[in-house]
Amino acid sequence: MASIEATEARRAAAFVAPALLWVLAFFIIPFAVMIGVSFARLEGRTVVYGLSFDNYLRFFTEPSLFKGLTISLEITVVVTVISVLLAYPLAWIIAMRVPARYQRLALMLAVLPFWTSYVVRSYAWLLVLGQNGVINKALLALGAIAEPLEIASTRSATIIGFVHFFVMLLTLTIYSNLIQLSPNYARAAADLGASAFATFRHVILPLTLPGVVTGAFLTFVLCIGDYITPQILGGNNELTLPQLIMLQLGRRGDFPMASAMSIILMVVVTLAYFASARWLKLDRV
């Protein structure tokens, strides 16, 4: 009996080992190296290894660096909230109002933006939002504005670019939750006298919360770590944390500072995970 259990355990370990080795080689070890480098210092143009907290201290005391974190958080929270508010009704319509045979087509149309490259999509938005872009030209032609609006190269442009992308992601996660709901829940609530709004608030929403939180968490993680969208659409008018990390790497060659800032970003993401862990159902994505 014992030998059968041992064989089973060895077999299980053999199955799990490749995945563990993969995570060890491509996540744990690089991450440990990054933690180690974050305690080094750049002296002149030379990296001096040791146990120094200078980089962390500098990040929290230098306003231009710390501001990168607050800007990232502000943008990420706004993008996540707007994306949820837009994605939920869209997912609802697809799941509840679109006939089943057209739902696949509707979903495909909803995720069309995923088909284009991230960079191309951002530059396309630049052309839409620019001074001579589609929006300004249309509003000027309609006489709605006298002067072109300043949309490109602003935080608003960054948020628009992000929301466009993440609404699609959230629509998928919320839809996958909604479609699993039995219609009997709504019928039972109606039988008990609940209004449509009360049914949504007390029955549907709590049951779909895991999908919403999962999508929101993914949006948070992807948005706060994104470099391309704010770089192209934000016009460098304010720097997010990933942009500041790139600045340390590309311009200063300051790998210790870049590592420290990456660890801080990782800590923020971890905190977001713990905040949403109760509702997270990543297996439902």
């Binding site: 002149g44 016009g235 460098n236 600045l247 590309g250 311009r251 200063r252």
Partner: protein
């Protein structure tokens, strides 16, 4: 075709392939224009394998990760030649085989390209980080004075090229300090004018973003721009222009060198000779990636009048006189410059 003929042809092709020489060149994107490289290969039979890079640090990293002899030719920022010489990367070039005598005297740059009387690189192309603008949207006379940019007249219509060295160098000149004399102390005096310029500007962007902003009319002025940015757009929009204000501007220059570890130095030297010849210089100056002034003054005989007009050929004596090389900061000044730049970006 019988078997004997086929065998003979294959053997001939193999012999040709064996005798054909190849060199590997680590270059900037202007060298990747086939119109520049193909005539050299056609004339000499030497194939040039190109790898593009941006920024001296990236180029040095590639060399560091390569085997000795992997690379034969290196294009490098003129202000960084000394750095490469210190690392023992560059081979001495035979003075009698160089065309320096034909160069604009100001861009021979012996201080940069020579060490202990030995020449390690030759200047191949230069230009300016100055003010580029759309002359249909701004008064060109205003662009002759840096002070106009922060006068309020062009608020929200300015972009800043996101490279701290030339822009801070330009602002230092406007503040009366030569680029070679910049120190952390002189830098402190630039904070106020830099923040004022930032306040008047709409965006700060890299090459592509800056070019897009100017080309689409998003902005009308680019601080740090120059012929390298507007010339390639000239055919589409002749209103895109540039000038050097009365306060002066920063001059960039790129140098060409042969690597010490190269095992094909003769072929590499042939390439250097071609690139610095008037014909090679004309093609390099008008490369599809970016334009710039050729170092060889005799190139004027090869360029068309239109090309010379875009490059402001006739104004070069005056421009050379009122421009200075990029600042070459030590580590402390570099850190101070980048701190100031980051602060400007976040405001």
């Amino acid at each position: 075709m019988n078997r004997l003929t086929t065998t003979a042809l294959v053997s001939l092709a193999m012999m040709q392939a064996a005798s054909a020489e190849e060199i590997n060149a680590l270059v900037w994107c202007d060298h990747a224009d086939p119109a520049l490289i193909e005539p050299f290969t056609a004339a000499t039979g030497i194939t040039v394998n190109l790898k593009e890079y941006e920024g001296t640090a990236a180029g040095l990293a590639i060399l560091d990760q390569s085997q000795p002899g992997d690379w034969d030719v290196l294009v490098i920022d003129a202000v960084d030649v000394g750095r490469a010489v210190d690392l023992g990367l560059l081979a001495e070039l035979p003075a009698d085989k160089l065309r320096n005598a034909d160069f604009f005297p100001e861009v021979v740059m012996a201080d940069n390209n020579t060490r202990d009387g030995k020449i390690y690189a030759v200047t191949e192309k230069f230009g300016y980080n100055t003010i580029a603008f759309n002359k249909s949207a701004v008064d060109p006379a205003d662009m002759e004075d840096m002070a106009t940019l922060t006068s309020g007249k062009y608020d929200g219509r300015i972009a800043i090229y996101d490279y701290y060295l030339p822009v801070l160098g330009e602002m230092s000149l406007a503040n009366g300090v030569n680029t070679a004399d910049m120190t952390p102390d002189t830098l402190a005096a630039l904070k106020e004018p830099l923040m004022a310029l930032r306040k008047a500007s709409k965006s700060v962007g890299d090459v592509v973003a800056s070019q897009t902003a100017l080309a689409t009319g998003e902005v009308d002025i680019l601080v740090g721009g120059g012929e390298w940015l507007t010339a390639v757009l000239h055919a589409e929009n002749p209103d895109l222009d540039w000038t050097i204000p009365k306060q002066g501007a920063v001059r960039w220059a790129q140098s060409l060198s042969v690597l010490e570890a190269s095992e094909k130095k003769d072929a590499a030297l042939q390439f250097v000779d071609y690139i610095t010849s008037p014909e090679g210089q004309a093609r390099l100056a008008t490369s599809s990636c970016y334009w710039g002034m050729p170092a060889n003054a005799k190139t004027g005989d090869v360029l068309t009048p239109e090309q010379k007009a875009v490059l402001r050929w006739d104004q070069q004596p005056a421009y050379l006189a009122k421009t200075q090389l990029y600042p070459v900061p030590d580590a402390a000044l570099d850190q101070a410059m980048q701190d100031l730049w980051t602060e400007m970006l976040q405001n």
